[in-house]
């Protein structure tokens, strides 16, 4: 197994862990962290591929994702804060008001 393969396996592991975290965990903050984990898994795969191809586009895309992730967290954290202030809980199941 060469270095590229190992990095890709790591990226996959990060993404899968993040996905599992989003699906399994009930704490909203942990779910947000898991999402960051997924993004970072993607970032890692992008960097790896960019390195392999010897092209810069992949690395540039990573910066874009950083910006988007930062913005997303900047909005998500206040929302979670407001929710927590209302119901005094971070349990995602407490917020099932959109039931069809």
């Amino acid at each position: 197994m060469d270095k590229t393969q190992a990095l890709l396996v790591l990226a996959l592991a990060l993404f899968s862990l993040g996905l599992a975290g989003v699906v399994v965990r009930r704490n909203l903050l942990v779910m947000l962290m898991s999402m960051e984990l997924m993004l970072n898994g993607v970032n890692l795969s992008l960097v790896t591929f960019a390195n392999q191809m010897g092209a810069a586009e992949g690395a540039v895309l990573v910066f874009l994702i950083f910006v988007v992730a930062a913005a997303e967290i900047a909005i998500a954290i206040p929302i979670v804060l407001l929710l927590a202030r209302r119901r005094h809980t971070l349990d995602a199941d407490a917020y099932a008001d959109l039931k069809g």
Binding site: L19, V22, V23, V24, R26, M31, A92, D93, Y95, A96, D97, L98, K99, G100
Partner: protein, 630 residues
């Protein structure tokens, strides 16, 4: 350019003025005078214009006048023109319509003066006159048909004039529906004519049928289809049932529309299209037999009716039957002659009945009248003259026309037969009988009025009695103007079967004898205290009930057509068609969407994890699929 259009447009202007302005702008007195002036003035103007047109016609040696107003539509190069045609027949009809029409308008001023819808009444009456003149003056069958439908509309509006009474409104609807049935036949006849000849101008149609070789269409077929329309409009078997109910309208309306003018439109149409009927032996036979049977049965019904207007209504049906009998045996001029005399005496009778009803504050049952002769002498005198005229006593007008009809029914070589004559003669006898019965029960004998009514009996105002006198004079003297002779260049009389040629004098004698016999019979039965009539009544209960019930034709139609139609409407169209199919489809679609939504809604749990799980499952599924198919 002769001004024919103005004749028809004058009453239209009256309708618009009264209908749009008077019903809104003015209330009470001033408006009243305006309505009277417009409502009576414009029909009289139309009469004057008709006289002028007649003078023009005579000055031009009776060459038909025509005026094309404009081209209505052109289909495939064939223009449908709104054009008017004025020949001898039109002249006679237009003079009757505007003349009698004007008289009845004047009469209405007194009769309707206390009605709250005075302006509406005159507006409708003028509208009727407009459509009737369109019918009479139209050159094309299409224009005639517009008038034909228009008079139907006006008739409907006027029968249901007091529409707050449901029974009267229902009578209006009945007239409308029954007429539509006839119109279906009329329309089919027009379609056939247009498809074969490519024109609907009646002079051209006549010319085409009279030419040899004739057009490639059976004259009998066209004749029968058009006659179906005539049975509706002119109240013949089997569509006569609407006319007696039409008496729900104001009495002057009964006189104008349902006796003197509109109901004779069918006779006019047959006479106008005589070119077709001359060549249609079968159709003519049908016309003659329907006519004579209608005359006979309506006369038998009239014998047993108790409502003064119902008696006159059945008498109208019966007299229309006489006109069709004449038309059916080829004597079109004689049919128009009877139409002309009938317009006078029947208008006089109806207006006289109106005067009686007016005097008795609305009473119409002849069992509650009697002895009115001295209380309302002018009405009595005019009514008696008109009664004698319709009974065919010489030298009054009805004698001349009815005698000619009997003569041609017997001797015409176009289908005259002793049988037609026998039934017609019997009908003439009954006509005299029931009319004198009416005269006796209303005006002579002992008074059967209740005290309240008796105290209020009064003669009608001069505007009404004056009209009665004029009409009585016309019904007395009208027969001396021989219409068949006037019309002969246009509507030649049929030849006479040689071996029956000697029958004319005996028939004249017989017809006078029949009139006198009817008079004598009525006198004998109803003279004095009427105990003979009561005894006869006791002996022939069943017959009386049958006649009083009008042979139960209305009930029969109700069973045969009315109820099945209601059943089909209710069960097939409403429940199956409307509710099950149309509503069902819509409700079904809505229900389907609702149920699907309920099912899909269960997925929307609101739990974030479930959504994330679904996303995961989708992702895995998509990956697996692309793996398999990659």
């Amino acid at each position: 350019m002769p001004e024919l259009a103005a004749i028809a447009l004058a009453p239209l202007a009256g309708f618009l003025l009264n209908g749009l302005l008077a019903t809104r702008l003015f209330a009470h007195r001033r408006g009243h005078r305006f309505v009277t002036l417009v409502g009576c003035g414009l029909p009289i103007a139309a009469f004057a214009l008709t006289l002028k047109a007649f003078a023009d016609l005579a000055a031009g040696g009776y060459a038909p006048l025509s005026q094309t107003l404009y081209t209505w539509i052109a289909i495939g190069g064939v223009p449908f023109e709104v054009s008017f045609w004025f020949d001898r027949l039109t002249a006679v009809m237009a003079l009757i319509v505007t003349g009698v029409g004007s008289l009845i308008h004047v009469y209405s001023v007194g009769y309707m003066k206390d009605d709250e819808s005075y302006a509406r009444y005159f507006a409708y009456l003028n509208l009727f006159l407009f459509f009737m003149l369109l019918l009479v003056l139209g050159r094309s069958l299409l224009v005639l048909f517009v008038g034909w439908e228009g008079v139907g509309l006006a008739s409907y509006l006027l029968i249901g004039f007091w529409f707050s009474d449901p029974e009267k409104a229902a009578a209006g609807k009945k007239a409308f529906v029954v007429n539509r049935i006839g119109d279906a036949g009329f329309l089919l006849g027009m379609f056939v004519l247009y498809a074969t000849l490519g024109t609907l101008d009646m002079d051209r149609i006549n010319a085409a049928f009279l030419a040899s070789p004739g057009p490639a269409v059976s004259a009998t077929l066209v004749g029968i289809l058009l006659f179906v329309g005539a049975t509706g409009k002119s109240a013949q078997i089997p569509l006569y049932v609407w006319l007696p109910d039409a008496m729900a309208g104001p009495t002057p309306v009964s006189a104008l529309i349902h006796a003197a003018t509109m109901v004779t439109a069918g006779v006019y149409m047959v006479a106008r299209l005589s070119g077709i009927y001359v060549n249609a032996e079968g159709a003519s036979q049908l016309v003659a037999w329907i006519g004579v049977l209608t005359a006979f049965f309506a006369a038998t019904i009239a014998v047993a009716q108790h409502d003064i207007k119902k008696v006159l209504a059945y008498s109208t049906v019966s007299q229309l039957g006489f006109m069709f009998l004449a038309a059916g045996v080829g004597a079109y001029g004689v049919a128009v002659f009877h139409l002309y005399t009938h317009a006078f005496f029947k208008a006089c009778l109806f207006l006289g009945a109106g005067s009686v009803i007016h005097a008795l504050s609305g009473e119409q049952d002849i069992r509650k009248m009697g002895g009115l002769a001295r209380r309302i002498p002018v009405t009595f005198a005019t009514f008696a003259v008109a009664t004698a005229a319709i009974a065919g006593l010489p030298p009054l007008s009805g004698f001349f026309s009815k005698d000619e009809i009997l003569w041609f029914a017997y001797a015409s070589e176009r289908g005259g037969s002793p049988w037609l004559f026998a039934i017609a003669a019997l009908t003439a006898l009954m006509t005299a009988f029931y009319m004198f019965r009416l005269l006796w029960l209303v005006f002579l004998g002992r008074s059967r009025l209740d005290h309240h009514a008796a105290a209020h009996v009064h003669e009608s105002p001069p505007s009404m009695t004056g009209v009665l006198v004029v009409l009585a004079i016309l019904s007395a003297a009208g027969g001396f103007l021989s219409i068949p002779h006037v019309l002969e260049p246009l509507l030649p009389l049929p030849g006479i079967v040689a071996e029956r040629a000697g029958g004319h004098v005996p028939i004249v004698v017989l017809s006078v004898a029949l009139g006198l016999a009817g008079l004598a019979g009525a006198w004998w039965l109803f003279g004095g205290a009427g105990e003979r009539a009561a005894r006869l009544d006791g002996r022939a209960q069943g017959l009386r009930r049958l006649l009083e019930g009008k042979y139960f034709v209305d009930e029969f139609y109700e069973r045969l057509v009315g109820r099945p139609l209601v059943w089909v409407s209710e069960h097939v169209f409403l429940r199956l068609g409307d509710r099950a199919v149309i509503d069902g489809t819509l409700h079904g679609l809505a229900g389907l969407a609702q149920r699907t939504a309920a099912l899909m809604g269960r997925v929307q749990t609101g739990h974030l994890h479930f959504y994330a799980f679904l996303a995961l499952a989708g992702l895995v599924g998509a990956l697996a699929w692309s793996w398999r198919h990659g």
